[in-house]
Symmetry: C2
Subunit: 350 residues, 2 copies
DNA sequence: AATTTTTCCGTTACCGTGCACGGAAACGAA
DNA sequence: TTCGTTTCCGTGCACGGTAACGGAAAAATT
């Protein structure tokens, strides 16, 4: 194998007695080649293990291609803001290969804006699309179009089982809930736990927190069958209500020493707890938003379970780039990325 | 900015009234260009934001360069084995850019083998070297030679303060000890803790466990000033002695409920603990060796603090590759990578 | 047999950079 | 002035692959 005189199409042309034009036709399955010539070329390619020089190929093609990233528009200390550095890194990475990485964002609460963002992406005729599935049904419609247009796509953050994606980069959702419970109950005999949830009134949004809650509840019932689980609902759009609701909740359930929340808004709860230092709660939440990290530093949150949206989106972009440029699919299709446990002593290194 | 007619050296040549040969000389800081021409070319480059086409560049160069990775030879379930996947990934990555990534390993207990490995690396005339500093003095000698030969090098795992490295990818060592103590004492009133250490008799090896132990002890004395800290030494090369030593240690210090170890060999301890289930110890160790992970699964280890040698070595290789190919230095010089907290419920995703 | 059509293939001009070669101009020394 | 040196720069080929163009040969039609 180690006769490393990198063979070229010129070599193949010489060995087959054909011209490099014909070899090129064979390599790209273009028409206009006799069966005999085709077979001859293929044999030499097999025998010598020809691998095209991608630099030369890309140079000759000399066209700019684009990889689109479709995701919710981030504001302030939002979850999606965490993905931003990954997109920037992805742009850098793509640029090395002549790939333009273009972000297309939408309002995650406005399905119309999602639809038009999808159209915008299609109009780009991208070489690949990276996206988290937010609106479930619309996403399925969109990815069906992508498949029809033969455009590869990669899910990140969470995924749908549409069986057509090139790869997935994200957390194992259920297990993250399980992990959450195990941290919350570490070294304790858990008697009572509070779950704080967000009132949803949306049209079929893909909601990972449901699956996460299942993992949580399973852990609790496996390890502490007698533990009481109480739920309370808040609405993050009406922040003034929250304190009252929580005060009522804790008053009704005075035994609660542990609190969990399955979305990224745990900071809403610690705002309340900070004002009521008499409540010494063990608190576990998700995602390293700036506000959450602050609460962690202050000791109001015991641990955060974090994923790294930046790493995920970068992985998605680089997978699509390598697929577009080198034609190689990612080694693994489903890439469950680590669930990082953040405490006040290691958080700053993430 | 968006006048995206990708400009080329030919354009620059035209605009400056020079030839592409001269433009090329300017771009590569080669001699034989008058100050005036140099300035003219640079101005146009600045103004138009010229970026070279790397496909064309690599195609034209058409030469194989090598990035060397110098590290201890790994055996069985060794720490260094964990780096292996990162090297493979690095090879893949490098291949995309016509860079050959070559591993050169040595016996970490044999300074002579290290010296000859260094010579081997130098003989390769590499475009870059990635290495963890094992033998401190010898490493300084080696990196001095690299600097003299103008070969960039990147430390990973740990680093020396030689002020000449291109980048560092590794854990914040001291903080990892601090974190270790915080996990070990979580929710407990810590009265007594055992530290298990390895007898060293080596010639000036760079030993991160010392710094780590400092972090640990600082945390304990800050949070539990009255806590007693006992040390015991084992020799991993004489495994038959270990059980006896530990039995003696626990007999002498019956109050010990928590155990820490600052190298990757915590599995040596859990082997003993498994045979003595009456000792219910909280145990925290380092690094996700297969044997450690097994102990974690069995519940013999509470948590492992892990770094990701594979990610570190891959980061080192890709940094060197990008430096060699694109001439761009890494964004940050000192890259302190996350200290991952592994429990039995999240370990498998690392 | 003469023609058109189809099939097949070689030629050639790129793509953007790198670099060796050699020549012109400027400079210095005699 | 003449001749050698040095400085500076343009020319042209190479790198490996792509694809348009057009022509020769084979097949089909008249």
């Amino acid at each position: 194998m180690e006769n490393k005189q990198k063979i070229t199409i010129k070599d193949i042309a010489r060995l087959t007695g054909l011209s490099k034009g014909t070899v090129d036709r064979v390599l790209h399955n273009r028409e206009g080649v006799s069966k005999k010539s085709y077979a001859k070329v293929m044999k030499v390619i097999e025998d010598l293990g020809y691998e095209p020089n991608i630099y030369a190929s890309l140079l000759a093609q000399n066209k700019e291609r684009v990889v689109a990233v479709l995701l919710p528009r981030s504001k302030d200390g939002d979850f999606w803001e965490l993905a931003e550095p990954g997109i920037v890194r992805g742009m850098d990475f793509g640029r090395n290969f002549g790939i333009k990485v273009q972000k297309v964002d939408y309002d995650q609460y406005d399905i119309e804006s999602f639809r038009s963002a999808c159209d915008e992406v299609l109009a780009l005729e991208p070489a690949g699309v990276a996206l988290p599935p937010m609106f479930k049904n619309e996403t399925l419609v969109f990815t069906a179009k992508l498949r029809a247009a033969n455009i590869p796509y990669v899910y990140f953050d969470s995924k749908l089982e549409d069986n057509g994606y090139l790869a997935y980069y994200g957390m194992p959702i259920y297990q993250s809930g399980y992990l959450c419970a195990s941290i919350l109950t570490d070294e304790m005999d858990m008697k009572e736990v509070g779950i704080i949830r967000i009132q949803r009134d949306k049209h079929g949004q893909s909601d990972p927190t449901i699956n996460r809650r299942e993992g949580f509840i399973d852990y609790i019932s496996e390890h502490f069958p007698k533990c009481r689980i109480s739920n309370v609902f808040i609405n993050p759009n009406k922040p003034r209500e929250i304190d009252g609701i929580l005060a009522g909740f804790f008053a009704e359930n005075p035994g609660i020493q542990s609190v969990a929340m399955f979305n990224s808004r745990i900071y809403l709860i610690t705002r309340f707890l900070e004002k009521h230092p008499e409540k010494k709660c063990r608190v576990v939440g998700f995602d390293n938003l700036a506000a959450n990290l602050l609460a962690l530093k202050k000791g109001l949150v015991t641990s955060l379970i974090a994923q790294r949206p930046d790493v995920q989106v970068f992985s998605a972009i680089s997978a699509l780039t390598e697929y577009a440029v080198f034609g190689k699919a990612p080694a693994k299709r489903d890439n469950f990325m680590p669930m990082d446990i953040l405490t006040r002593y290691n958080a700053e290194y993430y």
